[in-house]
């Protein structure tokens, strides 16, 4: 028996990292929003590693924050160790990573959701979506059905089911239906989505065992401490001080590998039970031993799962081998001889969509106002999920209001790279962001995410006034200081003794401070000695000033490339374009374009099977159409 339980603007199915950002974004944009989770203990659950950030991923978190999302703020509240990676390399790949207190991360996020105006968070299992005819032959989502028979009406729905959808866990020879971490899976919803015509496929991921800290011997491992100076994730935080915990490094050895090899036949992975495709960048230990047979050792990090628990995450050692084998190989590793496993490693398989079925605003092509985000779209990782969640939430709101979608392009954000890759190129494995996926890496730095995105987010009504004002103040401060450095000149007599001390060549003539700062061996902090009268600057502005001046030339070069890229990106293609009508397109291009329905000529150019000649044909055709329309209008006026 079904019954109406409520009406909302936006309903988000799933309250993981994608769901949380989607729900918060929608509510913050003023939409009456409902978030549903099979189990409220799963809100912002970190089902795998206890850390946020890293290369590329850290960039995503910064961007989420710059847009007014929650991930950065939440990890700043709950991290127990923080490190800036890659500092020996250039600013484009500096990447922030923090170890999280998992329990607190979940609790803080849940508190934020509960406190959020316009947002209801409820426990319950959605089993179907309801659609209606749009009138033009197409369908539109208009509600959802719960397991209990309850129906919620909605103007837009976001699917963020993570690994819950028809989740299946594998440990050795055993396999059973389950969501992550022993939670109930969502099975009916998958069946019903198929009934609505959605094609689902299977992906796979895995997680290592958790062990008790007291059973480990840390003396036999290398300690890895957090940074002394903590750089916050959120642009809302200037400086953070916190007691930090350590992580620990140790290595596998030949004995470990021998145990694993001996038991290959008992792994679900090689036994053929797993049909899902797993990611190459996150292989299980048996996969590593199998594929890299000549590698003598593999490293693993022991990472604390939180402050209030003794559970430790064994990074680098995910597995689908049986528990007895797991214990045996873990114990062959230095420091892990007495290890007690509290949660075994497992592989999990789940249903997801082919992201090529999505538009650039993450809306499902065949049912309007149905948006998709996170692992459901074939990505992997908390950060990738959160980024899509935010964009799906924003676009759900914009589509309800009949406004232009909010799409970031590849030159604007890693979020743009991530989504464009997914919806234009598709993926054959859970997709992970990498800095090398970005063409304009020198522009998409983690330090300038706010300069790239905060204004735009404010304009669409997501970033709030206080964040925006804060950003403007920082902008003003940065610009003023850069201007001053470019104008202030120093004389050889003033600075040569200091330069000599730094091992920097002496000046022959006077030079501006900005010019000096361009020298590789000099940084902004050092300049204080030469420039004692300067005003103190916030940490963010200091980084901006330094990077903008130091790398001015390179940044300028990429900006020129971006200009060229944008030219095709801004040539919009009509959504209902009949490619069959366009003479000169090759058949393959016609089919591909018809299937993908790219929004711009730029996007079309990235579709495999569309050649440069096809792009030229499209450009000419567009111009023809434009003039045709103009002529028509001219005719009407006469």
């Amino acid at each position: 028996m079904s019954y109406l339980m409520g009406e909302y603007d936006v309903i988000v199915i799933g309250a993981g990292h994608a769901g949380c950002e989607a729900g918060l974004a929608a509510a913050r944009m003023g939409k009456k929003t409902l978030m549903l989770s099979i189990n409220l203990e799963a809100v912002a659950m970190m089902a795998c590693n206890p850390s946020i950030g890293g290369t590329g991923k850290g960039h995503l978190v910064r961007e989420i924050d710059a847009l007014g999302g929650e991930m950065g703020v939440n990890i700043d509240k709950t991290f127990i160790q923080s490190r800036m990676l890659n500092t020996a390399k250039g600013p484009a790949v500096h990447s922030l990573r923090a170890q999280a207190d998992k329990q607190r991360y979940h609790e803080e996020m849940k508190k934020t959701l509960e406190a959020q105006e316009n947002l209801d968070l409820k426990q319950g299992e959605a089993v179907d979506i309801v659609t209606e005819d749009q009138g033009d032959g197409g369908k539109r989502v208009c509600g959802i059905v719960m397991k209990t028979g309850a129906i919620y009406r909605a103007k837009a729905v976001v699917l963020a089911t993570g690994t819950f959808l028809r989740g299946k866990i594998f440990i050795g020879e055993s396999a059973y239906q389950s969501g992550p971490n022993g939670l109930a899976p969502s099975v009916e919803l998958a069946d019903n989505l198929k009934k609505h015509g959605m094609k689902l496929r299977r992906f796979k991921t895995g997680t290592p065992a958790r062990a008790l800290g007291k059973s480990l011997n840390f003396d036999r491992m290398e300690e890895q401490k957090g940074d002394e100076k903590i750089v916050p994730f959120s642009f809302l935080n200037d400086r953070l001080e916190r007691e930090q915990v350590s992580c620990w490094l140790t290595y596998t050895n030949e004995t470990t590998h021998e145990i694993i090899r001996k038991n290959f036949h008992r792994s679900a992975l090689f036994g053929g039970q797993i049909e899902g495709v797993g990611p190459r960048y996150c292989p299980s230990i048996e996969d590593k031993v199998n594929r890299f047979a000549d590698k003598k050792r593999h490293q693993l990090f022991i990472e604390p799962e939180g402050s209030a628990t003794d559970e430790m995450y064994i990074q680098g050692m995910s597995s689908s081998l049986p528990e007895d084998v797991q214990v045996e190989f873990y114990r062959s590793i230095p420091g892990l001889e007495e290890l007690e496993v509290v949660r075994p490693a497992y592989a999990i398989e789940y249903d997801c969509i082919d992201p090529l079925e999505l538009k650039t605003n993450l809306e499902y092509r065949k049912i309007s106002r149905l948006f998709c985000a996170g692992q459901f779209n074939g990505s992997s990782g908390y950060e990738e999920a959160a980024a899509q969640g935010l964009m799906a939430g924003v676009n759900a709101c914009l589509s309800i209001d009949g406004k232009q979608p909010f799409v970031l392009d590849r030159s604007e954000a890693y979020i743009g790279v991530l989504i464009d890759d997914l919806v234009t190129k598709g993926t054959n494995e859970p997709y992970r962001i990498m800095t090398s996926r970005a063409e304009y890496r020198l522009l998409l730095r983690q330090d300038n995410a706010d300069r790239r995105l905060t204004r735009r987010s404010f304009e669409i009504g997501l970033a709030d006034k206080s964040r925006y004002d804060r950003f403007l103040k920082r902008e003003e401060e940065t610009e003023r200081e850069m201007d001053r450095l470019r104008k202030t000149e120093v004389l050889p007599s003033q600075v040569n003794s200091i330069l000599e001390k730094w091992g920097s060549s002496p000046l022959q003539n006077k030079m501006t401070l900005a010019e000096l700062l361009k020298r590789p061996e000099i940084n902004y902090e050092m300049l204080a000695e030469i420039d004692p009268q300067r005003d103190p600057l916030s940490w963010h502005s200091m980084t901006q000033v330094e990077v903008q001046i130091k790398y001015d030339g390179y940044i300028g070069k990429q900006l020129t490339q971006v200009e060229r890229f944008k030219r095709l990106e801004t040539r919009r293609l009509p959504e209902d374009l009949d490619y069959g009508r366009i003479d000169g397109l090759r058949i393959e291009a016609r089919q591909k374009l018809d299937q993908f329905r790219p929004v711009s000529v730029g996007q079309a150019s990235r579709i495999s099977g569309v050649s440069p000649a096809d792009i030229n044909v499209l450009l000419i055709w567009l111009e023809k159409e434009r003039r045709g329309k103009k002529d028509e209008k001219g005719g009407e006026n006469q």
Partner: protein, 479 residues
């Protein structure tokens, strides 16, 4: 704002005049950087042949501002060293009343492939990029210069030209050049994979890259690129035209041959600047094949210092020739001078022209082959125009092995390849510079990646995920 494009606008090897067209916002500045107007004093007739211009131009160069739509006489010069490249007429036409509705500059220079390509290269080095096939037409249409009714025709033209451009690029990529480029690209890939894994996986237990290693790899890659640019064999032949040298003692009929060839091809082209009176180099087209023809001063012993220099140059010209046309006089037989020249000639690339056959011959093919067993022999009479067809056929065979020529597209793609290789080389130089001053790895990566992409474009490989796929197949990464 569109960028600025340049291309050769006239057909190859036909007509005495060729046009290099530049279109886009930088058209004016491109023209200004390579063209200097000249106010010249007219000097009449120079030697027996009608000379197009004097190599050392008699006239004063003046920096007249370029006037819209005024055809101006002057010199094309290489701004790097001020050297004269060609004399030319140039015109600048301001947007929007031009073919493309953009600023357009046109340089009318000598129609030889050599000359046109040098002028085009200069444009590319000074702010323009090579136009894609059909791009001028495309722009003309997109900018509203062509009528709507012409849209279909434009699509056809652009479609055909683009396809041809890319297909030929692929079709041509057989043999040693493509192999070399693939090898180079593999080297670049090895380096990129290592750089990428270092940038994206800082915490992994993997081989670290350091600047010494980077310097070393870059310098090896640079060596290979330089070798590629220097090129040899067909590569150079197509790039610069077949180097044909006419050898033989004075008065044997070399000038007549040269004039005959020039007349035949109806493409008087140019005296390439910088040549002296000792060797005269002409660019022309024989059966559509770009040819660089050198007339030597004749090789013989001399005490005269000036002539001595000329002879050295002749030897040089003979040495670097792809094809040597060695002229002997049939009615006089081998003279001591002829016999002195023979040892300098590489028989395998020599065609002996048994000339003045109309006067009766004391020399036979057998006698010639006795002296030069590897050479080919053709009987000619410059006076009666006899044997020229055979000679042209011979030259054609040298280039295409008798197969039909796909000359135009071949040359077009070649300019493209050359530009891409040059660009890749610039990127690698830039990377080397940055590596030696220890700039950040992520900045250097941009240049290496660009070089990788440029080379990929030549062989039609632009797969973006190639690097990432390699990273995962070579390194064991992940949680």
């Amino acid at each position: 704002m569109e960028d600025t494009i340049a291309a050769i606008a006239t057909a190859y090897g036909e007509g005495g005049i060729g046009i290099v067209r530049v279109s886009g916002p930088k058209a004016r500045s491109v023209l200004e950087s390579i063209f200097i107007s000249v106010r010249r004093h007219r000097t009449e007739g120079e030697g027996q042949r009608e000379r197009f211009f004097l190599p050392e131009a008699t006239g004063e160069t003046i920096n007249e501002p370029i006037v819209n739509r005024r055809l101006t006489y002057g010199n094309v010069v290489d701004p790097r060293d001020g050297s004269l490249v060609d004399e030319a007429m140039a015109v600048f036409m301001k947007a929007p009343y031009t073919y493309t509705a953009e600023d357009v500059a046109e340089i009318q220079c000598h129609g030889s492939v050599v000359s046109l390509r040098r002028v085009l290269s200069l444009c590319l080095e000074n702010g323009a990029r090579l136009a894609e096939p059909g791009e001028f037409t495309k722009r003309a249409f997109l900018n509203g210069r062509l009528d709507l009714s012409q849209a279909e025709a434009v699509i056809d033209v652009v479609r055909a030209k683009t396809d041809q451009g890319f297909d030929v690029a692929l079709g041509q990529m057989e043999g040693s050049l493509s192999r070399e480029i693939r090898e180079l690209r593999n080297d670049l890939m090895d380096l990129l994979v290592l750089v990428t894994v270092n940038l994206d996986y800082p915490d992994e237990d993997i081989e670290e890259i350091n600047y010494e290693k980077l310097d070393e790899s870059l310098s090896q890659i640079d060596d290979k690129l330089q070798a590629l640019i220097a090129g040899a064999g067909t590569g150079r032949m197509i790039r610069e035209g077949l180097a044909v040298t006419i050898a033989g003692r004075p008065n044997v009929g070399k000038s007549s041959l040269m004039n005959a060839l020039l007349r035949e091809s109806r493409a008087i082209v140019t005296d390439v600047p910088g040549t002296t009176r000792d060797t005269i180099e002409e660019g022309l087209s024989i059966s559509g094949i770009p040819v660089r023809l050198t007339d030597t001063a004749g090789i013989r012993r001399t005490e005269d210092r000036v002539e001595q220099i000329g002879i050295e140059k002749s030897k040089e010209a003979v040495n670097r020739a792809d094809l040597i046309l060695f002229m002997v006089s049939g009615n006089e037989g081998f003279t001591p001078e002829d016999l002195e020249i023979i040892p300098y000639l590489d028989e395998k690339k020599t065609v002996v022209l048994l000339n003045k056959i109309d006067l009766g011959s004391v020399l036979t093919e057998e006698m010639i082959l006795e002296k030069m067993p590897g050479a080919a022999v053709i009987e000619t009479s410059m006076k009666e125009g006899h044997g020229m067809d055979l000679l042209q056929e011979k030259i054609r065979d040298m280039v295409f092995g008798g197969q039909a020529a796909q000359r135009e597209s071949m040359i077009v793609t070649n300019v493209r390849h050359e530009e891409l290789i040059r660009r890749a080389s610039e990127e690698i130089h830039c990377a080397q510079l940055m590596s030696s001053s220890r700039e950040a790895l992520d900045f250097i990566e941009v240049n290496i990646r660009q070089a990788f992409d440029d080379l990929g474009e030549i062989i039609g490989e632009t797969a973006n995920d190639q690097i990432i796929n390699e990273v995962f197949s070579r390194f064991c990464l992940g949680k």
